[in-house]
Amino acid sequence: MNFALSDEQEFLREAARDALGRVATLAAARDALEDPAAILDLWPVAVKAGWPGLLISEPAGGAGLGTFDALLVAERLGAVLARVPFIGLMPATALLDRAAHPCLEAVATGERRPVFVPARPPVSGAESWTVEDGHGRSAPAPRVIRSGAHPRLDGQAAYVIDAPDADLLVVAATDATGSPVAAVVDAMQVQPVAAYDASRSVGHVTFDNVPAELLDVDSAELTDAWYLVQALIAAEAVGTVEAALGVSVSYAKDRYAFGRAIGSYQAVKHEIVEVLRRLENARALQFYAGWARDSRPAEFPLAASAARSVAGNALDFAARAMINVHGGIGATWEHDAPLVFRRAQLTRRLAGGHADATYRVGQAVLHNPRLVTAA
């Protein structure tokens, strides 16, 4: 048993930190709230770092790395609120790779940007595959129509992470029987959403009976792709929480009130330690999820849902704690705290929301209590 990073993984994480350290992502996130033109194009950074090909197998031109590695990169992106379409990209490349799709090389070199449009797999037999309708409800996933010579895709999905950055969508859709199928489309309408969090790219997608190419992947692989999205969101949140904690700790050391550093007051100290507690828990589950997808696929849905649930709650808490610790300045645009807060507020409601992940953990253990026993 060895639950630590390898040298290569440490290196990957450091390289990501370095690459992102050269770009003023936080300033861009703030400026972009008022001026969308301020959004930085980080795609060249991602391509130079080799991230698009991370999960693509080596013969197809990728790096052939594992889920654990992808989560480490997501964590670094979260730490600086970098707007890289990573959450959409990774599951898309994983599915394209499973199907040995001819576009893989172009993806690995950064020429093409596929993004995954997730659909929520049913928890019970009574449910179907769904997407968000844009008004807080769920709607049926887009449908593949196979009546003519070529399959076509019809339907829509709201609040799709990274969709505006895509030139190719890998869509979790259903066929006439309601079974999931993966459809690749490049003729789509994406309407970018001016989101609450300018550091995150989100859009509504519409498929108006457009030509689609079906991927040779099965229901299990589409289910896996949903959970990969959950794990990526979790890992990204871990990075954001870690950064928020660092800023809160240093302010608590430097800011004085009543003749003492505010961090010496228990109310402040204990709230910050609560951030640490949640961070440590979230990171443990990030590691579990990263390991499980490649080594214990049967546990991956549980691991990814637990990671999303704990990391999502951690981010909510850390964002509010960061504001509290900073007092007035924490509630102004001058500060980074509102950026973290906006990230937390938007993200907790995307891709099923983190409450759905929590619910799934509960469902999983109710049906198989042994999942929580050691070994």
Binding site: M1, N2, F3, A4, L5, S6, Q9, F68, L245, V249, A252, K253, R260, A261, G263, S264, Y265, Q266, K269, H270, I272, V273, E274, L276, R277, E280, N281, A282, R283, A284, L285, F287, Y288, G290, W291, S295, L302, A303, S305, A306, S309, V310, N313, A357, T358, Y359, R360, V361, G362, Q363, V365, L366, H367, P369, R370, L371, V372, T373, A374, A375
Partner: protein, 401 residues
């Protein structure tokens, strides 16, 4: 990054599993009444069997009766016992805390005398640390140890919340030998035979109605000078070793403190409770417990590489206890008030609130972690550098005013 057993660990797991399969039928029930001497006896002989099979104190060095194995091998035992549904060794405090303390701070003679009977369950140990006026502020203990002309020591004072004292053979007792020193410096650790003249043990009934802990009165109890562990005035250092092992033990997960989250899920499923609110609450607490498990693997990896566990182990304790409290609440909410008098759920509900204090209260842990792990500024301390005697006088005056 790999959670699978190494070939060596897999072989060890097989050995443990096979032994348990052969002897499982001899195991006593995992829960029982520690006030009943017959139950204590069966637990004692079960510990003896485990020890003879080499399954107790595996991380202790071989020269001290252990097997010199790594912490992961101990976890494998815990996992296999949980899987088999059998209890572990009776003397959790001896094996988990006092043995390691004697190994670290004791003399060769003490190791030779006490470790083997401890391992075999022949002599159970208890922890005589807390007092009515010294819990979180443990260095404030007032039990006095006065040196006699012949070099022996005479102990007088009161200890409290002492788990297992009712059947323990020895207690590890933190006492004050020098009241004129600053409080952490005037302490010495003593081994005290629990049958020594002058010792009175009185059971303290807990919320559950059971009396697992006790108050212990020491009234001119004489111990010889070879009972000092870690040297005169070396008591605080020895106590810190015990506290470190205690945090690790309580933070090691729900199963190691005797609760089975899978049984919570089973009970809810049996009650047909799968509405979204139940699922959400179950999901929340399960995710936290899973986090403790995998976080535990991370610290275990560090431990296997020779790193010493820091105060952050206390975070796992906070998470575990709170998640279990949420679990007990959820079961009782779902099953109704009758669950409160159910043997398993009633006990869980009643026992856990106290566990928030045991092994360091949540506030104390958060303060320590904030200061030692995050480097946050310490609280001002009015007791720093003040001789203990003066502190006491001040305190008495303040309370009177």
């Amino acid at each position: 990054m790999d959670l699978d057993d190494t070939p060596d660990q897999a072989a060890w797991r097989t050995e443990v599993r096979q032994w348990l399969a052969r002897h499982q039928s001899d195991a006593p029930p995992a829960r029982g009444d520690f006030e009943d001497p017959a139950y204590v006896e069966v637990r004692r002989s079960w510990q003896r069997s485990l020890t003879e099979a080499g399954l107790v104190g595996v991380t202790w060095p071989e020269e001290h009766g252990g097997r010199g194995r790594g912490p992961v091998d101990q976890v494998i035992i815990n996992q296999e016992m949980a899987r088999a549904g059998v209890p572990g060794h009776l003397d959790v405090i001896g094996i988990g805390l006092m043995g390691p303390c004697i190994i670290a701070h004791g003399s060769d003679e003490q190791r030779a005398r006490y470790l083997a009977p401890m391992l075999h369950g022949d002599e159970v140990w208890c922890q005589l640390f807390s007092e009515p006026a010294a819990g979180s502020d443990l260095a404030g203990v007032q039990t006095r140890a006065v040196e006699q002309a012949d070099g022996s020591w005479r102990l007088t004072g009161q200890k409290v919340w002492t788990t297992s004292a009712q059947f323990a053979a020895f207690g590890m007792c933190l006492a004050r030998t020098d009241p004129d020193a600053v409080k952490h410096q005037g302490l010495t650790m003593f081994i005290v035979p629990m049958d020594a003249p002058g010792i009175t043990v009185r059971g303290l009934r807990q919320i559950s109605g059971e009396a697992e802990f006790n108050e212990v009165f020491l009234d001119d109890v004489t111990v010889t000078d070879d009972m000092v562990v870690g040297g005169v005035r070396g008591g605080w250092k020895a106590a810190l070793t015990v506290l470190m092992f205690e945090r690790m033990m309580i933070g090691a997960g729900a199963e190691t403190i005797g609760f089975r989250p899978d049984r919570v899920a089973t009970a809810l499923a049996a009650a047909g409770a799968d509405d979204p609110r139940v699922c959400h609450r179950l999901g929340e607490l399960t995710a936290e417990l899973l986090a403790v498990r995998y976080g535990g693997f991370r610290s275990l990896t560090a431990l296997s590489r020779g790193q010493i566990p820091g105060p952050e182990a206390g975070l796992a304790k906070i998470t575990t206890v709170n998640a279990l409290i949420a679990a007990a609440d959820l079961v009782c909410d779902t099953l109704g008030p009758g669950a409160l008098t159910d043997e398993e759920w009633g006990y869980m509900t009643s026992f856990l609130p106290g566990l928030k204090s045991a092994g360091g209260t949540e506030q104390i842990l958060r303060t320590t972690i904030g200061e030692r792990v995050l480097g946050l500024p310490a609280e001002p301390r009015v007791d720093k550098g003040v001789p203990f005697r003066e502190l006491r006088t001040r305190q008495i005056a303040e309370v009177a005013a």
